[in-house]
């Protein structure tokens, strides 16, 4: 989903400004401050979440610290007002109701609107100020699924994201909303993990150390003794870690016992 992110780091790489991170194969970059990626994501929300936003006085720009402009709502239509150029309807998802406006520009739009009637469950996509499209729901497992998604995204944003610090994770910044029309419900959002995701603790420390400009610049690489000393870890552990990283292709040996970060 995050295929075309603007990667600030890559743009400045080379010339010794920043450690080269070109080896990350996953297109996702852990630069969570990038506004581009977030603005393109679709977030499932409950009306209560939207209402809490307005209370705080924000213009609906972020929920749980994530930029949110495009949202998904699932609920029952409780009122429809059909005018010539637009259609206003009220969606109630059990946590509250919200007025949505659908602008009618062409015939296609008005056909869409005719299908919708009061009392019907719908899934609505749109921006917090205006609503783009909605379609009727036929598989009612979608309703439970939508709320579970809201919960998941909320937990992800509040618990997992703050924990991700340096470049060791390839998870997507925002889970993608999947269209489910069968009875099976998987809570599995597509996590793009590359091998670095598996690496924890010492491994990530070692990796980070080797990615320092000084280490990258050195042709010979860094010996495991030095790494162990700098990180205050036993040489044994460091060696094991380096072996593992080498087998993953993340580092390579230059001469005996000297390692370099794979800078391909």
């Amino acid at each position: 989903m995050q295929a075309n992110e603007f990667d600030g780091n890559a743009a400045f790489a080379g010339g010794g400004f920043m450690p080269s991170q070109a080896t990350q194969t996953a297109p996702d970059r852990p630069s969570y401050s990038s506004k581009n990626s977030d603005a393109r994501c679709l977030t499932p929300v409950t009306v209560k979440q939207l209402k809490d936003l307005s209370k705080v006085g924000e213009s609906g720009i972020s929920i749980d610290g994530v930029d949110v402009n495009n949202i998904v709502l699932v609920g029952v239509i409780s009122k429809i007002d059909n005018a010539v150029s637009d259609c206003t309807f009220r969606v109630d998802d059990g946590t509250g109701w919200v007025e949505c406006t659908k602008w009618i520009h062409e015939h296609v739009d008005s056909v869409e609107v005719d299908v919708i009637s009061v009392g019907m469950y719908v899934r609505v996509y749109g921006q917090f100020k205006s609503i783009q499209s909605r379609r009727p729901i036929t598989d009612f497992n979608e309703i439970a699924h939508h709320f579970l998604e809201c919960i998941y995204v909320h937990l992800y944003n509040t618990k997992l994201r703050p924990r991700m610090t340096n470049a060791t994770d390839g998870m997507t910044a925002q889970p993608q909303v999947a269209n489910s029309n069968s009875g099976n419900h998987i809570m599995g959002f597509s996590h793009q993990t590359n091998s670095t995701n598996q690496i924890r603790g010492i491994s990530s420390m070692v990796l980070q150390y080797l990615r320092r400009p000084a280490c990258l610049a050195s042709e010979m690489g860094v010996s495991s003794d030095i790494v162990a000393r700098e990180l205050n870890v036993s040489v044994d552990k460091v060696r094991k870690t380096l072996d593992f990283l080498a087998s993953e292709g993340l580092v390579y040996t230059t001469t005996d016992d000297h390692y370099k970060f794979t800078d391909a």
């Binding site: 946590t95 109701w97 009392g119």
Partner: protein, 106 residues
């Protein structure tokens, strides 16, 4: 926007926590009469839902209404949820929505 009448997601066991308040749940219909419907909640409890159900009723029906006591609801809104519905999924949702994630819903 108005959240003055939010309905809590409940199953049979959670209904008692919301007696007198608006709730929503899905039941599997076991018997339906003119003024009430008996059904099994997503966690296996027997519930009675009073009101006028739509006809025809599908196997699963969502009811939104006021909880009268720990095993009965006075329904205001009925929605047929079809014949294939993942009850355990919904049940998990009820538990989550009443637990530490309550603030997302109520």
């Amino acid at each position: 926007m108005d959240t003055s009448s939010p309905a809590a997601f409940v199953n049979g066991g959670l209904l008692r926590m919301h007696v007198g308040r608006k709730v929503r749940t899905v039941i599997q219909v076991t018997r339906s009469d003119a003024g009430s419907v008996m059904g099994k909640s997503t966690d296996g409890c027997q519930l009675v839902v009073r009101g006028s159900p739509p006809a025809p009723l599908t196997s699963y029906v969502e009811v939104i209404g006021v909880a009268e006591n720990e095993s009965s609801i006075r329904a205001e809104l009925w929605t047929n949820f079809g014949d294939s519905f993942d009850a355990s999924n919904y049940d998990q949702l009820c538990q989550l929505a009443n637990g530490e994630l309550k603030h997302l819903f109520l």
